[in-house]
């Protein structure tokens, strides 16, 4: 049998040591009627057969020029990233509970935490959560714990619609209300309302917003502070290599900054696995969800690393833990850490700048096409919104036939969105000829429709 080493002689010797006649006797305590069911699954295949089948399935996905974003971006991943991340010593290790046998993973997590605190200018980062959206859920729960007696979170409509759905699913279970702050239909920026916000724990400030726009985050941060609210920043790590970090927003920085780390060396892989991160102030550290690594010493006084503040976690605190989360995204953190290291400050900033410049150039040239509108004129990072004269889905499907994934029809993220609205993203992978091909395809589509 695959992956089971025992031969008949060894099996017999072990059974005999137990005084058993056959393997079935190992299950004698289980009521016979529970064991009677059949298992209607195919017979096993060998590696060669599997490879043949799976390579055929993989070929069914066309290789597309990717102009889609929405929180997941097609950036270049240097070869070294997964060469190291897939090493068995990282790939097949478990959570580093036994510190002495896990110094590699522990130091790497510590370095990841250090990369993230430097990127965000925050004091503490955990060792990752499932993804950006679940990090935001955890950030909201953390804010509610820091503000006992509150039950509301203020959310800018500028947050990704698909993240809003996750917040709704998971926060409604605990009776938490999301109060939405609408966007200005002219500018696409968050409108700051007046009113009574005493029931709210925090304001969520997305930078970049759902239309790719860069908002005046200092103003939002100061507004939240004036209302006595905690501030939760939703940031994109690559954008942060160019943008003022959330630890410096407003008067003294935000309380919690979270984000999706996929852009840092993680394959798109149809939506996961990705990694979320959560950073905060040191004063909030005991409310932090997820794993945390600290630097310490061993019995000889040498530098060593270990998990710390485990009393926050479910395996100790059970029902009163800060979260039910029991894993981090270790393998993806490994990739993200190596990615940040190998690009370095220079490479990260250049990848961000190229992505930004491609998007700016494409937006400018799209705007010149007849019938196409770019509704918001504000500064962007790498993504923008276009209004086509016809359905965005029709163009997306047309472009697919030309080998282009032209963007995300906004209605696919938000059923209430304008059906003509398309979200378009660029990365440093796109060359000038790719932009030209995009524009040519759009031009032909507009002529034909």
């Amino acid at each position: 049998m695959p992956y089971i080493p025992h031969d008949a002689e060894e099996t017999a010797a072990m059974l005999s040591a137990l005084g058993l006649g056959d393997l079935e006797e190992l299950f004698s305590e289980i009521p016979a009627e529970l064991q009677a069911s059949t298992l209607d699954l195919p017979t096993g295949l060998n590696e060669a057969q599997l490879r043949r089948q799976w390579e055929a399935s993989a070929r069914q996905q066309p290789d597309l020029l990717c102009f889609a974003g929405g929180g997941a971006y097609a950036h270049h991943i240097p070869a070294i990233v997964w060469e190291i991340a897939a090493r068995g010593e990282f790939y097949s290790a478990y959570t580093p509970y036994q510190a002495e046998a896990s110094q590699g993973t522990l130091q790497l997590l510590y370095e990841f935490q250090s990369f993230l605190t430097r990127l965000t200018a925050m004091e503490v980062s955990n060792a990752s959560l499932y993804d950006g959206a679940s990090s935001l859920v955890e950030a909201c729960l953390m804010a509610l714990r820091l503000r006992p007696g509150t039950s509301e979170i203020l959310v800018s409509e500028g947050l990704w619609p698909h993240w809003q759905k996750v917040l709704t699913s998971l926060l409604s279970l605990q009776g938490i209300t999301l109060r939405m702050l609408p966007l200005d239909p002219e500018t696409g920026y968050t409108r700051l309302p007046s009113g009574d916000f005493s029931a709210a724990a925090a304001l969520i400030i997305p930078q970049v917003n759902r239309y790719g726009l860069l908002e005046d985050v200092d103003q939002q941060s100061r507004w939240a502070e004036a209302q006595g609210l905690l501030q939760i920043a939703v940031v994109q790590p690559l954008a942060l290599t160019l943008l003022r970090p959330p630890g410096e927003w407003g008067n003294g920085g935000v309380d919690i900054a979270i984000g999706e780390g996929q852009a840092l060396g993680v394959p798109l892989s149809a939506g996961g696995p990705y990694l979320g991160f959560l950073t905060t102030r040191k004063t909030h550290i005991r409310q932090l969800p997820g794993r945390l690594v600290a630097k310490t010493v061993d019995s000889q006084g040498q530098t060593a690393y270990c998990l710390t503040l485990q009393a926050r976690e479910q395996h100790i605190r059970r029902a009163t833990a800060t979260s039910n989360i029991c894993t981090n995204q270790g393998l993806l953190v490994t990739a993200a850490c190596i990615y940040m290291a190998v690009l370095g400050a220079k490479g990260l900033r250049e990848a961000a700048a190229r992505s930004h410049q491609r998007a700016v150039a494409l937006r400018r040239r799209i705007q010149e096409l007849p019938g196409v509108r770019v509704p918001f004129a504000g500064a962007i990072f790498q993504e923008f919104r276009v209004e086509l004269p016809v359905s965005a889905v029709a163009f997306r499907d047309y472009a697919l036939g030309r080998g282009i994934l032209a963007g995300i029809p906004e209605q696919e993220l938000d059923p209430n969105a304008d059906p003509r609205s398309l979200l378009v993203a660029c990365t440093e992978l796109l060359e000038e000829t790719d932009l030209a091909q995009y524009l040519q395809t759009l031009r032909e589509f507009l002529q034909e429709s």
Binding site: D63, A68, L108, N324
Partner: protein, 471 residues
């Protein structure tokens, strides 16, 4: 080892023009610029300071550290899968969606359930989805007073934490002296305020809950539902279906049972499976076939769904690896997994008993794991489970899980998995015999272990006091 932040070379940037307002630009980015070879060496050397399944026996109870086949990694990361953007239309990902639809069906068959959603990102998120479905079920029936979830004291810590995150109050139930649930305590706890019970079977005590059918009958009679924590599914894989035991909803830990990598702590995948009563509430999106093609389902297809748990469809890369494993083994291979997982566990348990170690339930058959308590060594010589764990590392053996379940004092939870050979198990027994001798004759060698690792015993108290968590 030195840090990556010590490798820095000055390199001028070539940024070009940025159309970003000056007040939004950052002044400095305090990150290093190492060379590619420096990065390669640094992280390769770090990797060599780890224990892993690929390098060491790893009998970590409740974690199912079996071999992670490399073919699964290679096929799951084929460019045709790795490059798919999550917003890619269904027409351009039919190969992938077909595989995921097959996985949904295979898991339903494996668990004896009706419907499967693959989207939970890990076991704990699967639990949360499961109890959220239980909540939605009672609400739809107007039974909003059912606000309590029953959980045995020995359960994984995630169970009560997940129940609380779904808005429930938790009542813990005791286990009897033979490891089975105390049925009288169950009867006293059941009532019209109870929404459900969360059970692991075999339990975390390493024994099969023999009264499961009776428990299911009593719980259902009271109007509550049964949740199955799939953490221990490896013990009964391909033999006993949770659906037939009477469970209404469960999650699977694909990173345990179906051999996807633990990756230093993740990613997991915690698919949920339900019986007919909870089908309308499954988290979206699932993969469905609409008569013409496979596609992701939306909330419109499943209006009573508890909603979405992540931005997209879940940890697809992990799901692909799990499916490769399932299809490599096939029906007969899966049955052999549980047979050899149980054989290895019982063989080790008998071997350790013969050396004088005390096991928690000597009168019972071990499942795929079992508990040893060294409370006797602690009393006699001051040697704790922690010391045994650290000393094992000196012999190139990863420590078992320690101090879980919390109700057995000074315990080690040992799970060898089916991947390990008799020779590996025999060596473990030899080492454990030596440790017992050391505990009785020279306990200091255990209390100061490990001695042969890159670092000695790590000062966790100092770590928590200093809280140096970034550099």
């Amino acid at each position: 080892m030195e840090s990556i932040f010590d490798c820095h070379h000055q390199r001028p940037e070539e940024l070009g023009a940025l159309e970003i307002p000056g007040n939004l630009l950052r002044r400095e980015l305090p990150l290093p610029n190492p060379s590619e070879l420096e990065v390669l060496r640094h992280y390769t050397r770090l990797s060599q300071r780890n224990f892993s399944i690929d390098t060491h026996f790893y009998p970590l109870g409740s974690c199912t550290m079996k071999y992670n086949p490399r073919i699964a990694h290679q096929l799951a990361t084929l460019p045709g899968f790795a490059r798919i953007h999550p917003a890619c239309p269904a027409a351009a990902q039919q190969g992938l969606l077909h595989i995921l639809a097959e996985l949904q069906e295979d898991l339903a068959e494996l668990t004896g359930m009706t419907g499967v959603s693959l989207s939970p990102a890990a076991g704990a998120q699967g639990e949360l989805a499961g109890v959220a479905m239980i909540r939605a079920y009672h609400r739809q029936r107007g039974e909003t007073q059912r606000q309590r979830i029953l959980i045995p004291q020995a359960a994984h810590g995630t169970n009560p934490a997940s129940a609380r995150m779904a808005g429930f109050v938790v009542t813990e139930l005791p286990n009897g002296p033979d490891g089975d649930l105390d049925l009288d305590a169950l009867d006293r706890a059941l009532g019209n305020d109870v929404a459900g019970i969360m059970l692991t079977n075999p339990s975390t005590l390493g024994v099969f809950e023999r009264q499961i059918q009776e428990i299911a009958r009593r719980v259902h009679e009271s109007g509550a539902l049964l949740y199955y924590d799939g953490a221990n599914l490896n013990a009964i894989l391909g033999r006993v279906k949770p659906g037939l035991m009477g469970f209404d909803v469960m999650h699977l830990n694909l990173h345990k049972t179906l051999a996807t990598p633990h990756g230093g702590g993740g990613p997991g995948a915690g698919a949920v499976a339900v019986g007919p009563s909870l089908l309308p509430f499954l988290p979206v999106p699932r993969v469905i076939h609409d008569g013409q093609q496979y596609r992701w389902e939306t909330h419109r297809d499943r209006p009573h769904s508890i909603g979405s748990l992540s931005a997209y469809g879940g940890n697809i890369g992990v799901l692909l690896r799990a499916h490769v494993y399932l299809r490599r083994l096939g029906a007969e291979g899966l049955r052999q997994v549980s047979a050899y997982a149980a054989l290895n566990a019982n063989y080790l348990m008998a071997g350790l008993q013969a050396q004088g170690y005390r096991v928690a339930f000597p009168q019972r058959r071990a499942s795929h794991e079992f508990i040893v308590s060294v409370a006797d060594l602690q009393q006699a010589k001051g040697v704790r489970a922690l010391d045994i764990a650290k000393r094992l590392l000196d012999f190139g053996i990863h420590a078992p899980t320690i101090y879980f379940p919390q109700l057995i004092p000074e315990c080690l939870l040992i799970e060898p998995t089916e991947s390990e050979s008799k020779a590996t198990l025999d060596r473990f027994l030899t080492v454990m015999a030596q440790l017992r001798r050391e505990a009785l004759e020279d306990p200091e060698i255990l209390r100061s272990a490990p001695h042969n690792l890159p670092v000695g015993r790590v000062d966790e108290t100092l770590a928590a006091r200093r809280l140096q968590v970034a550099q």
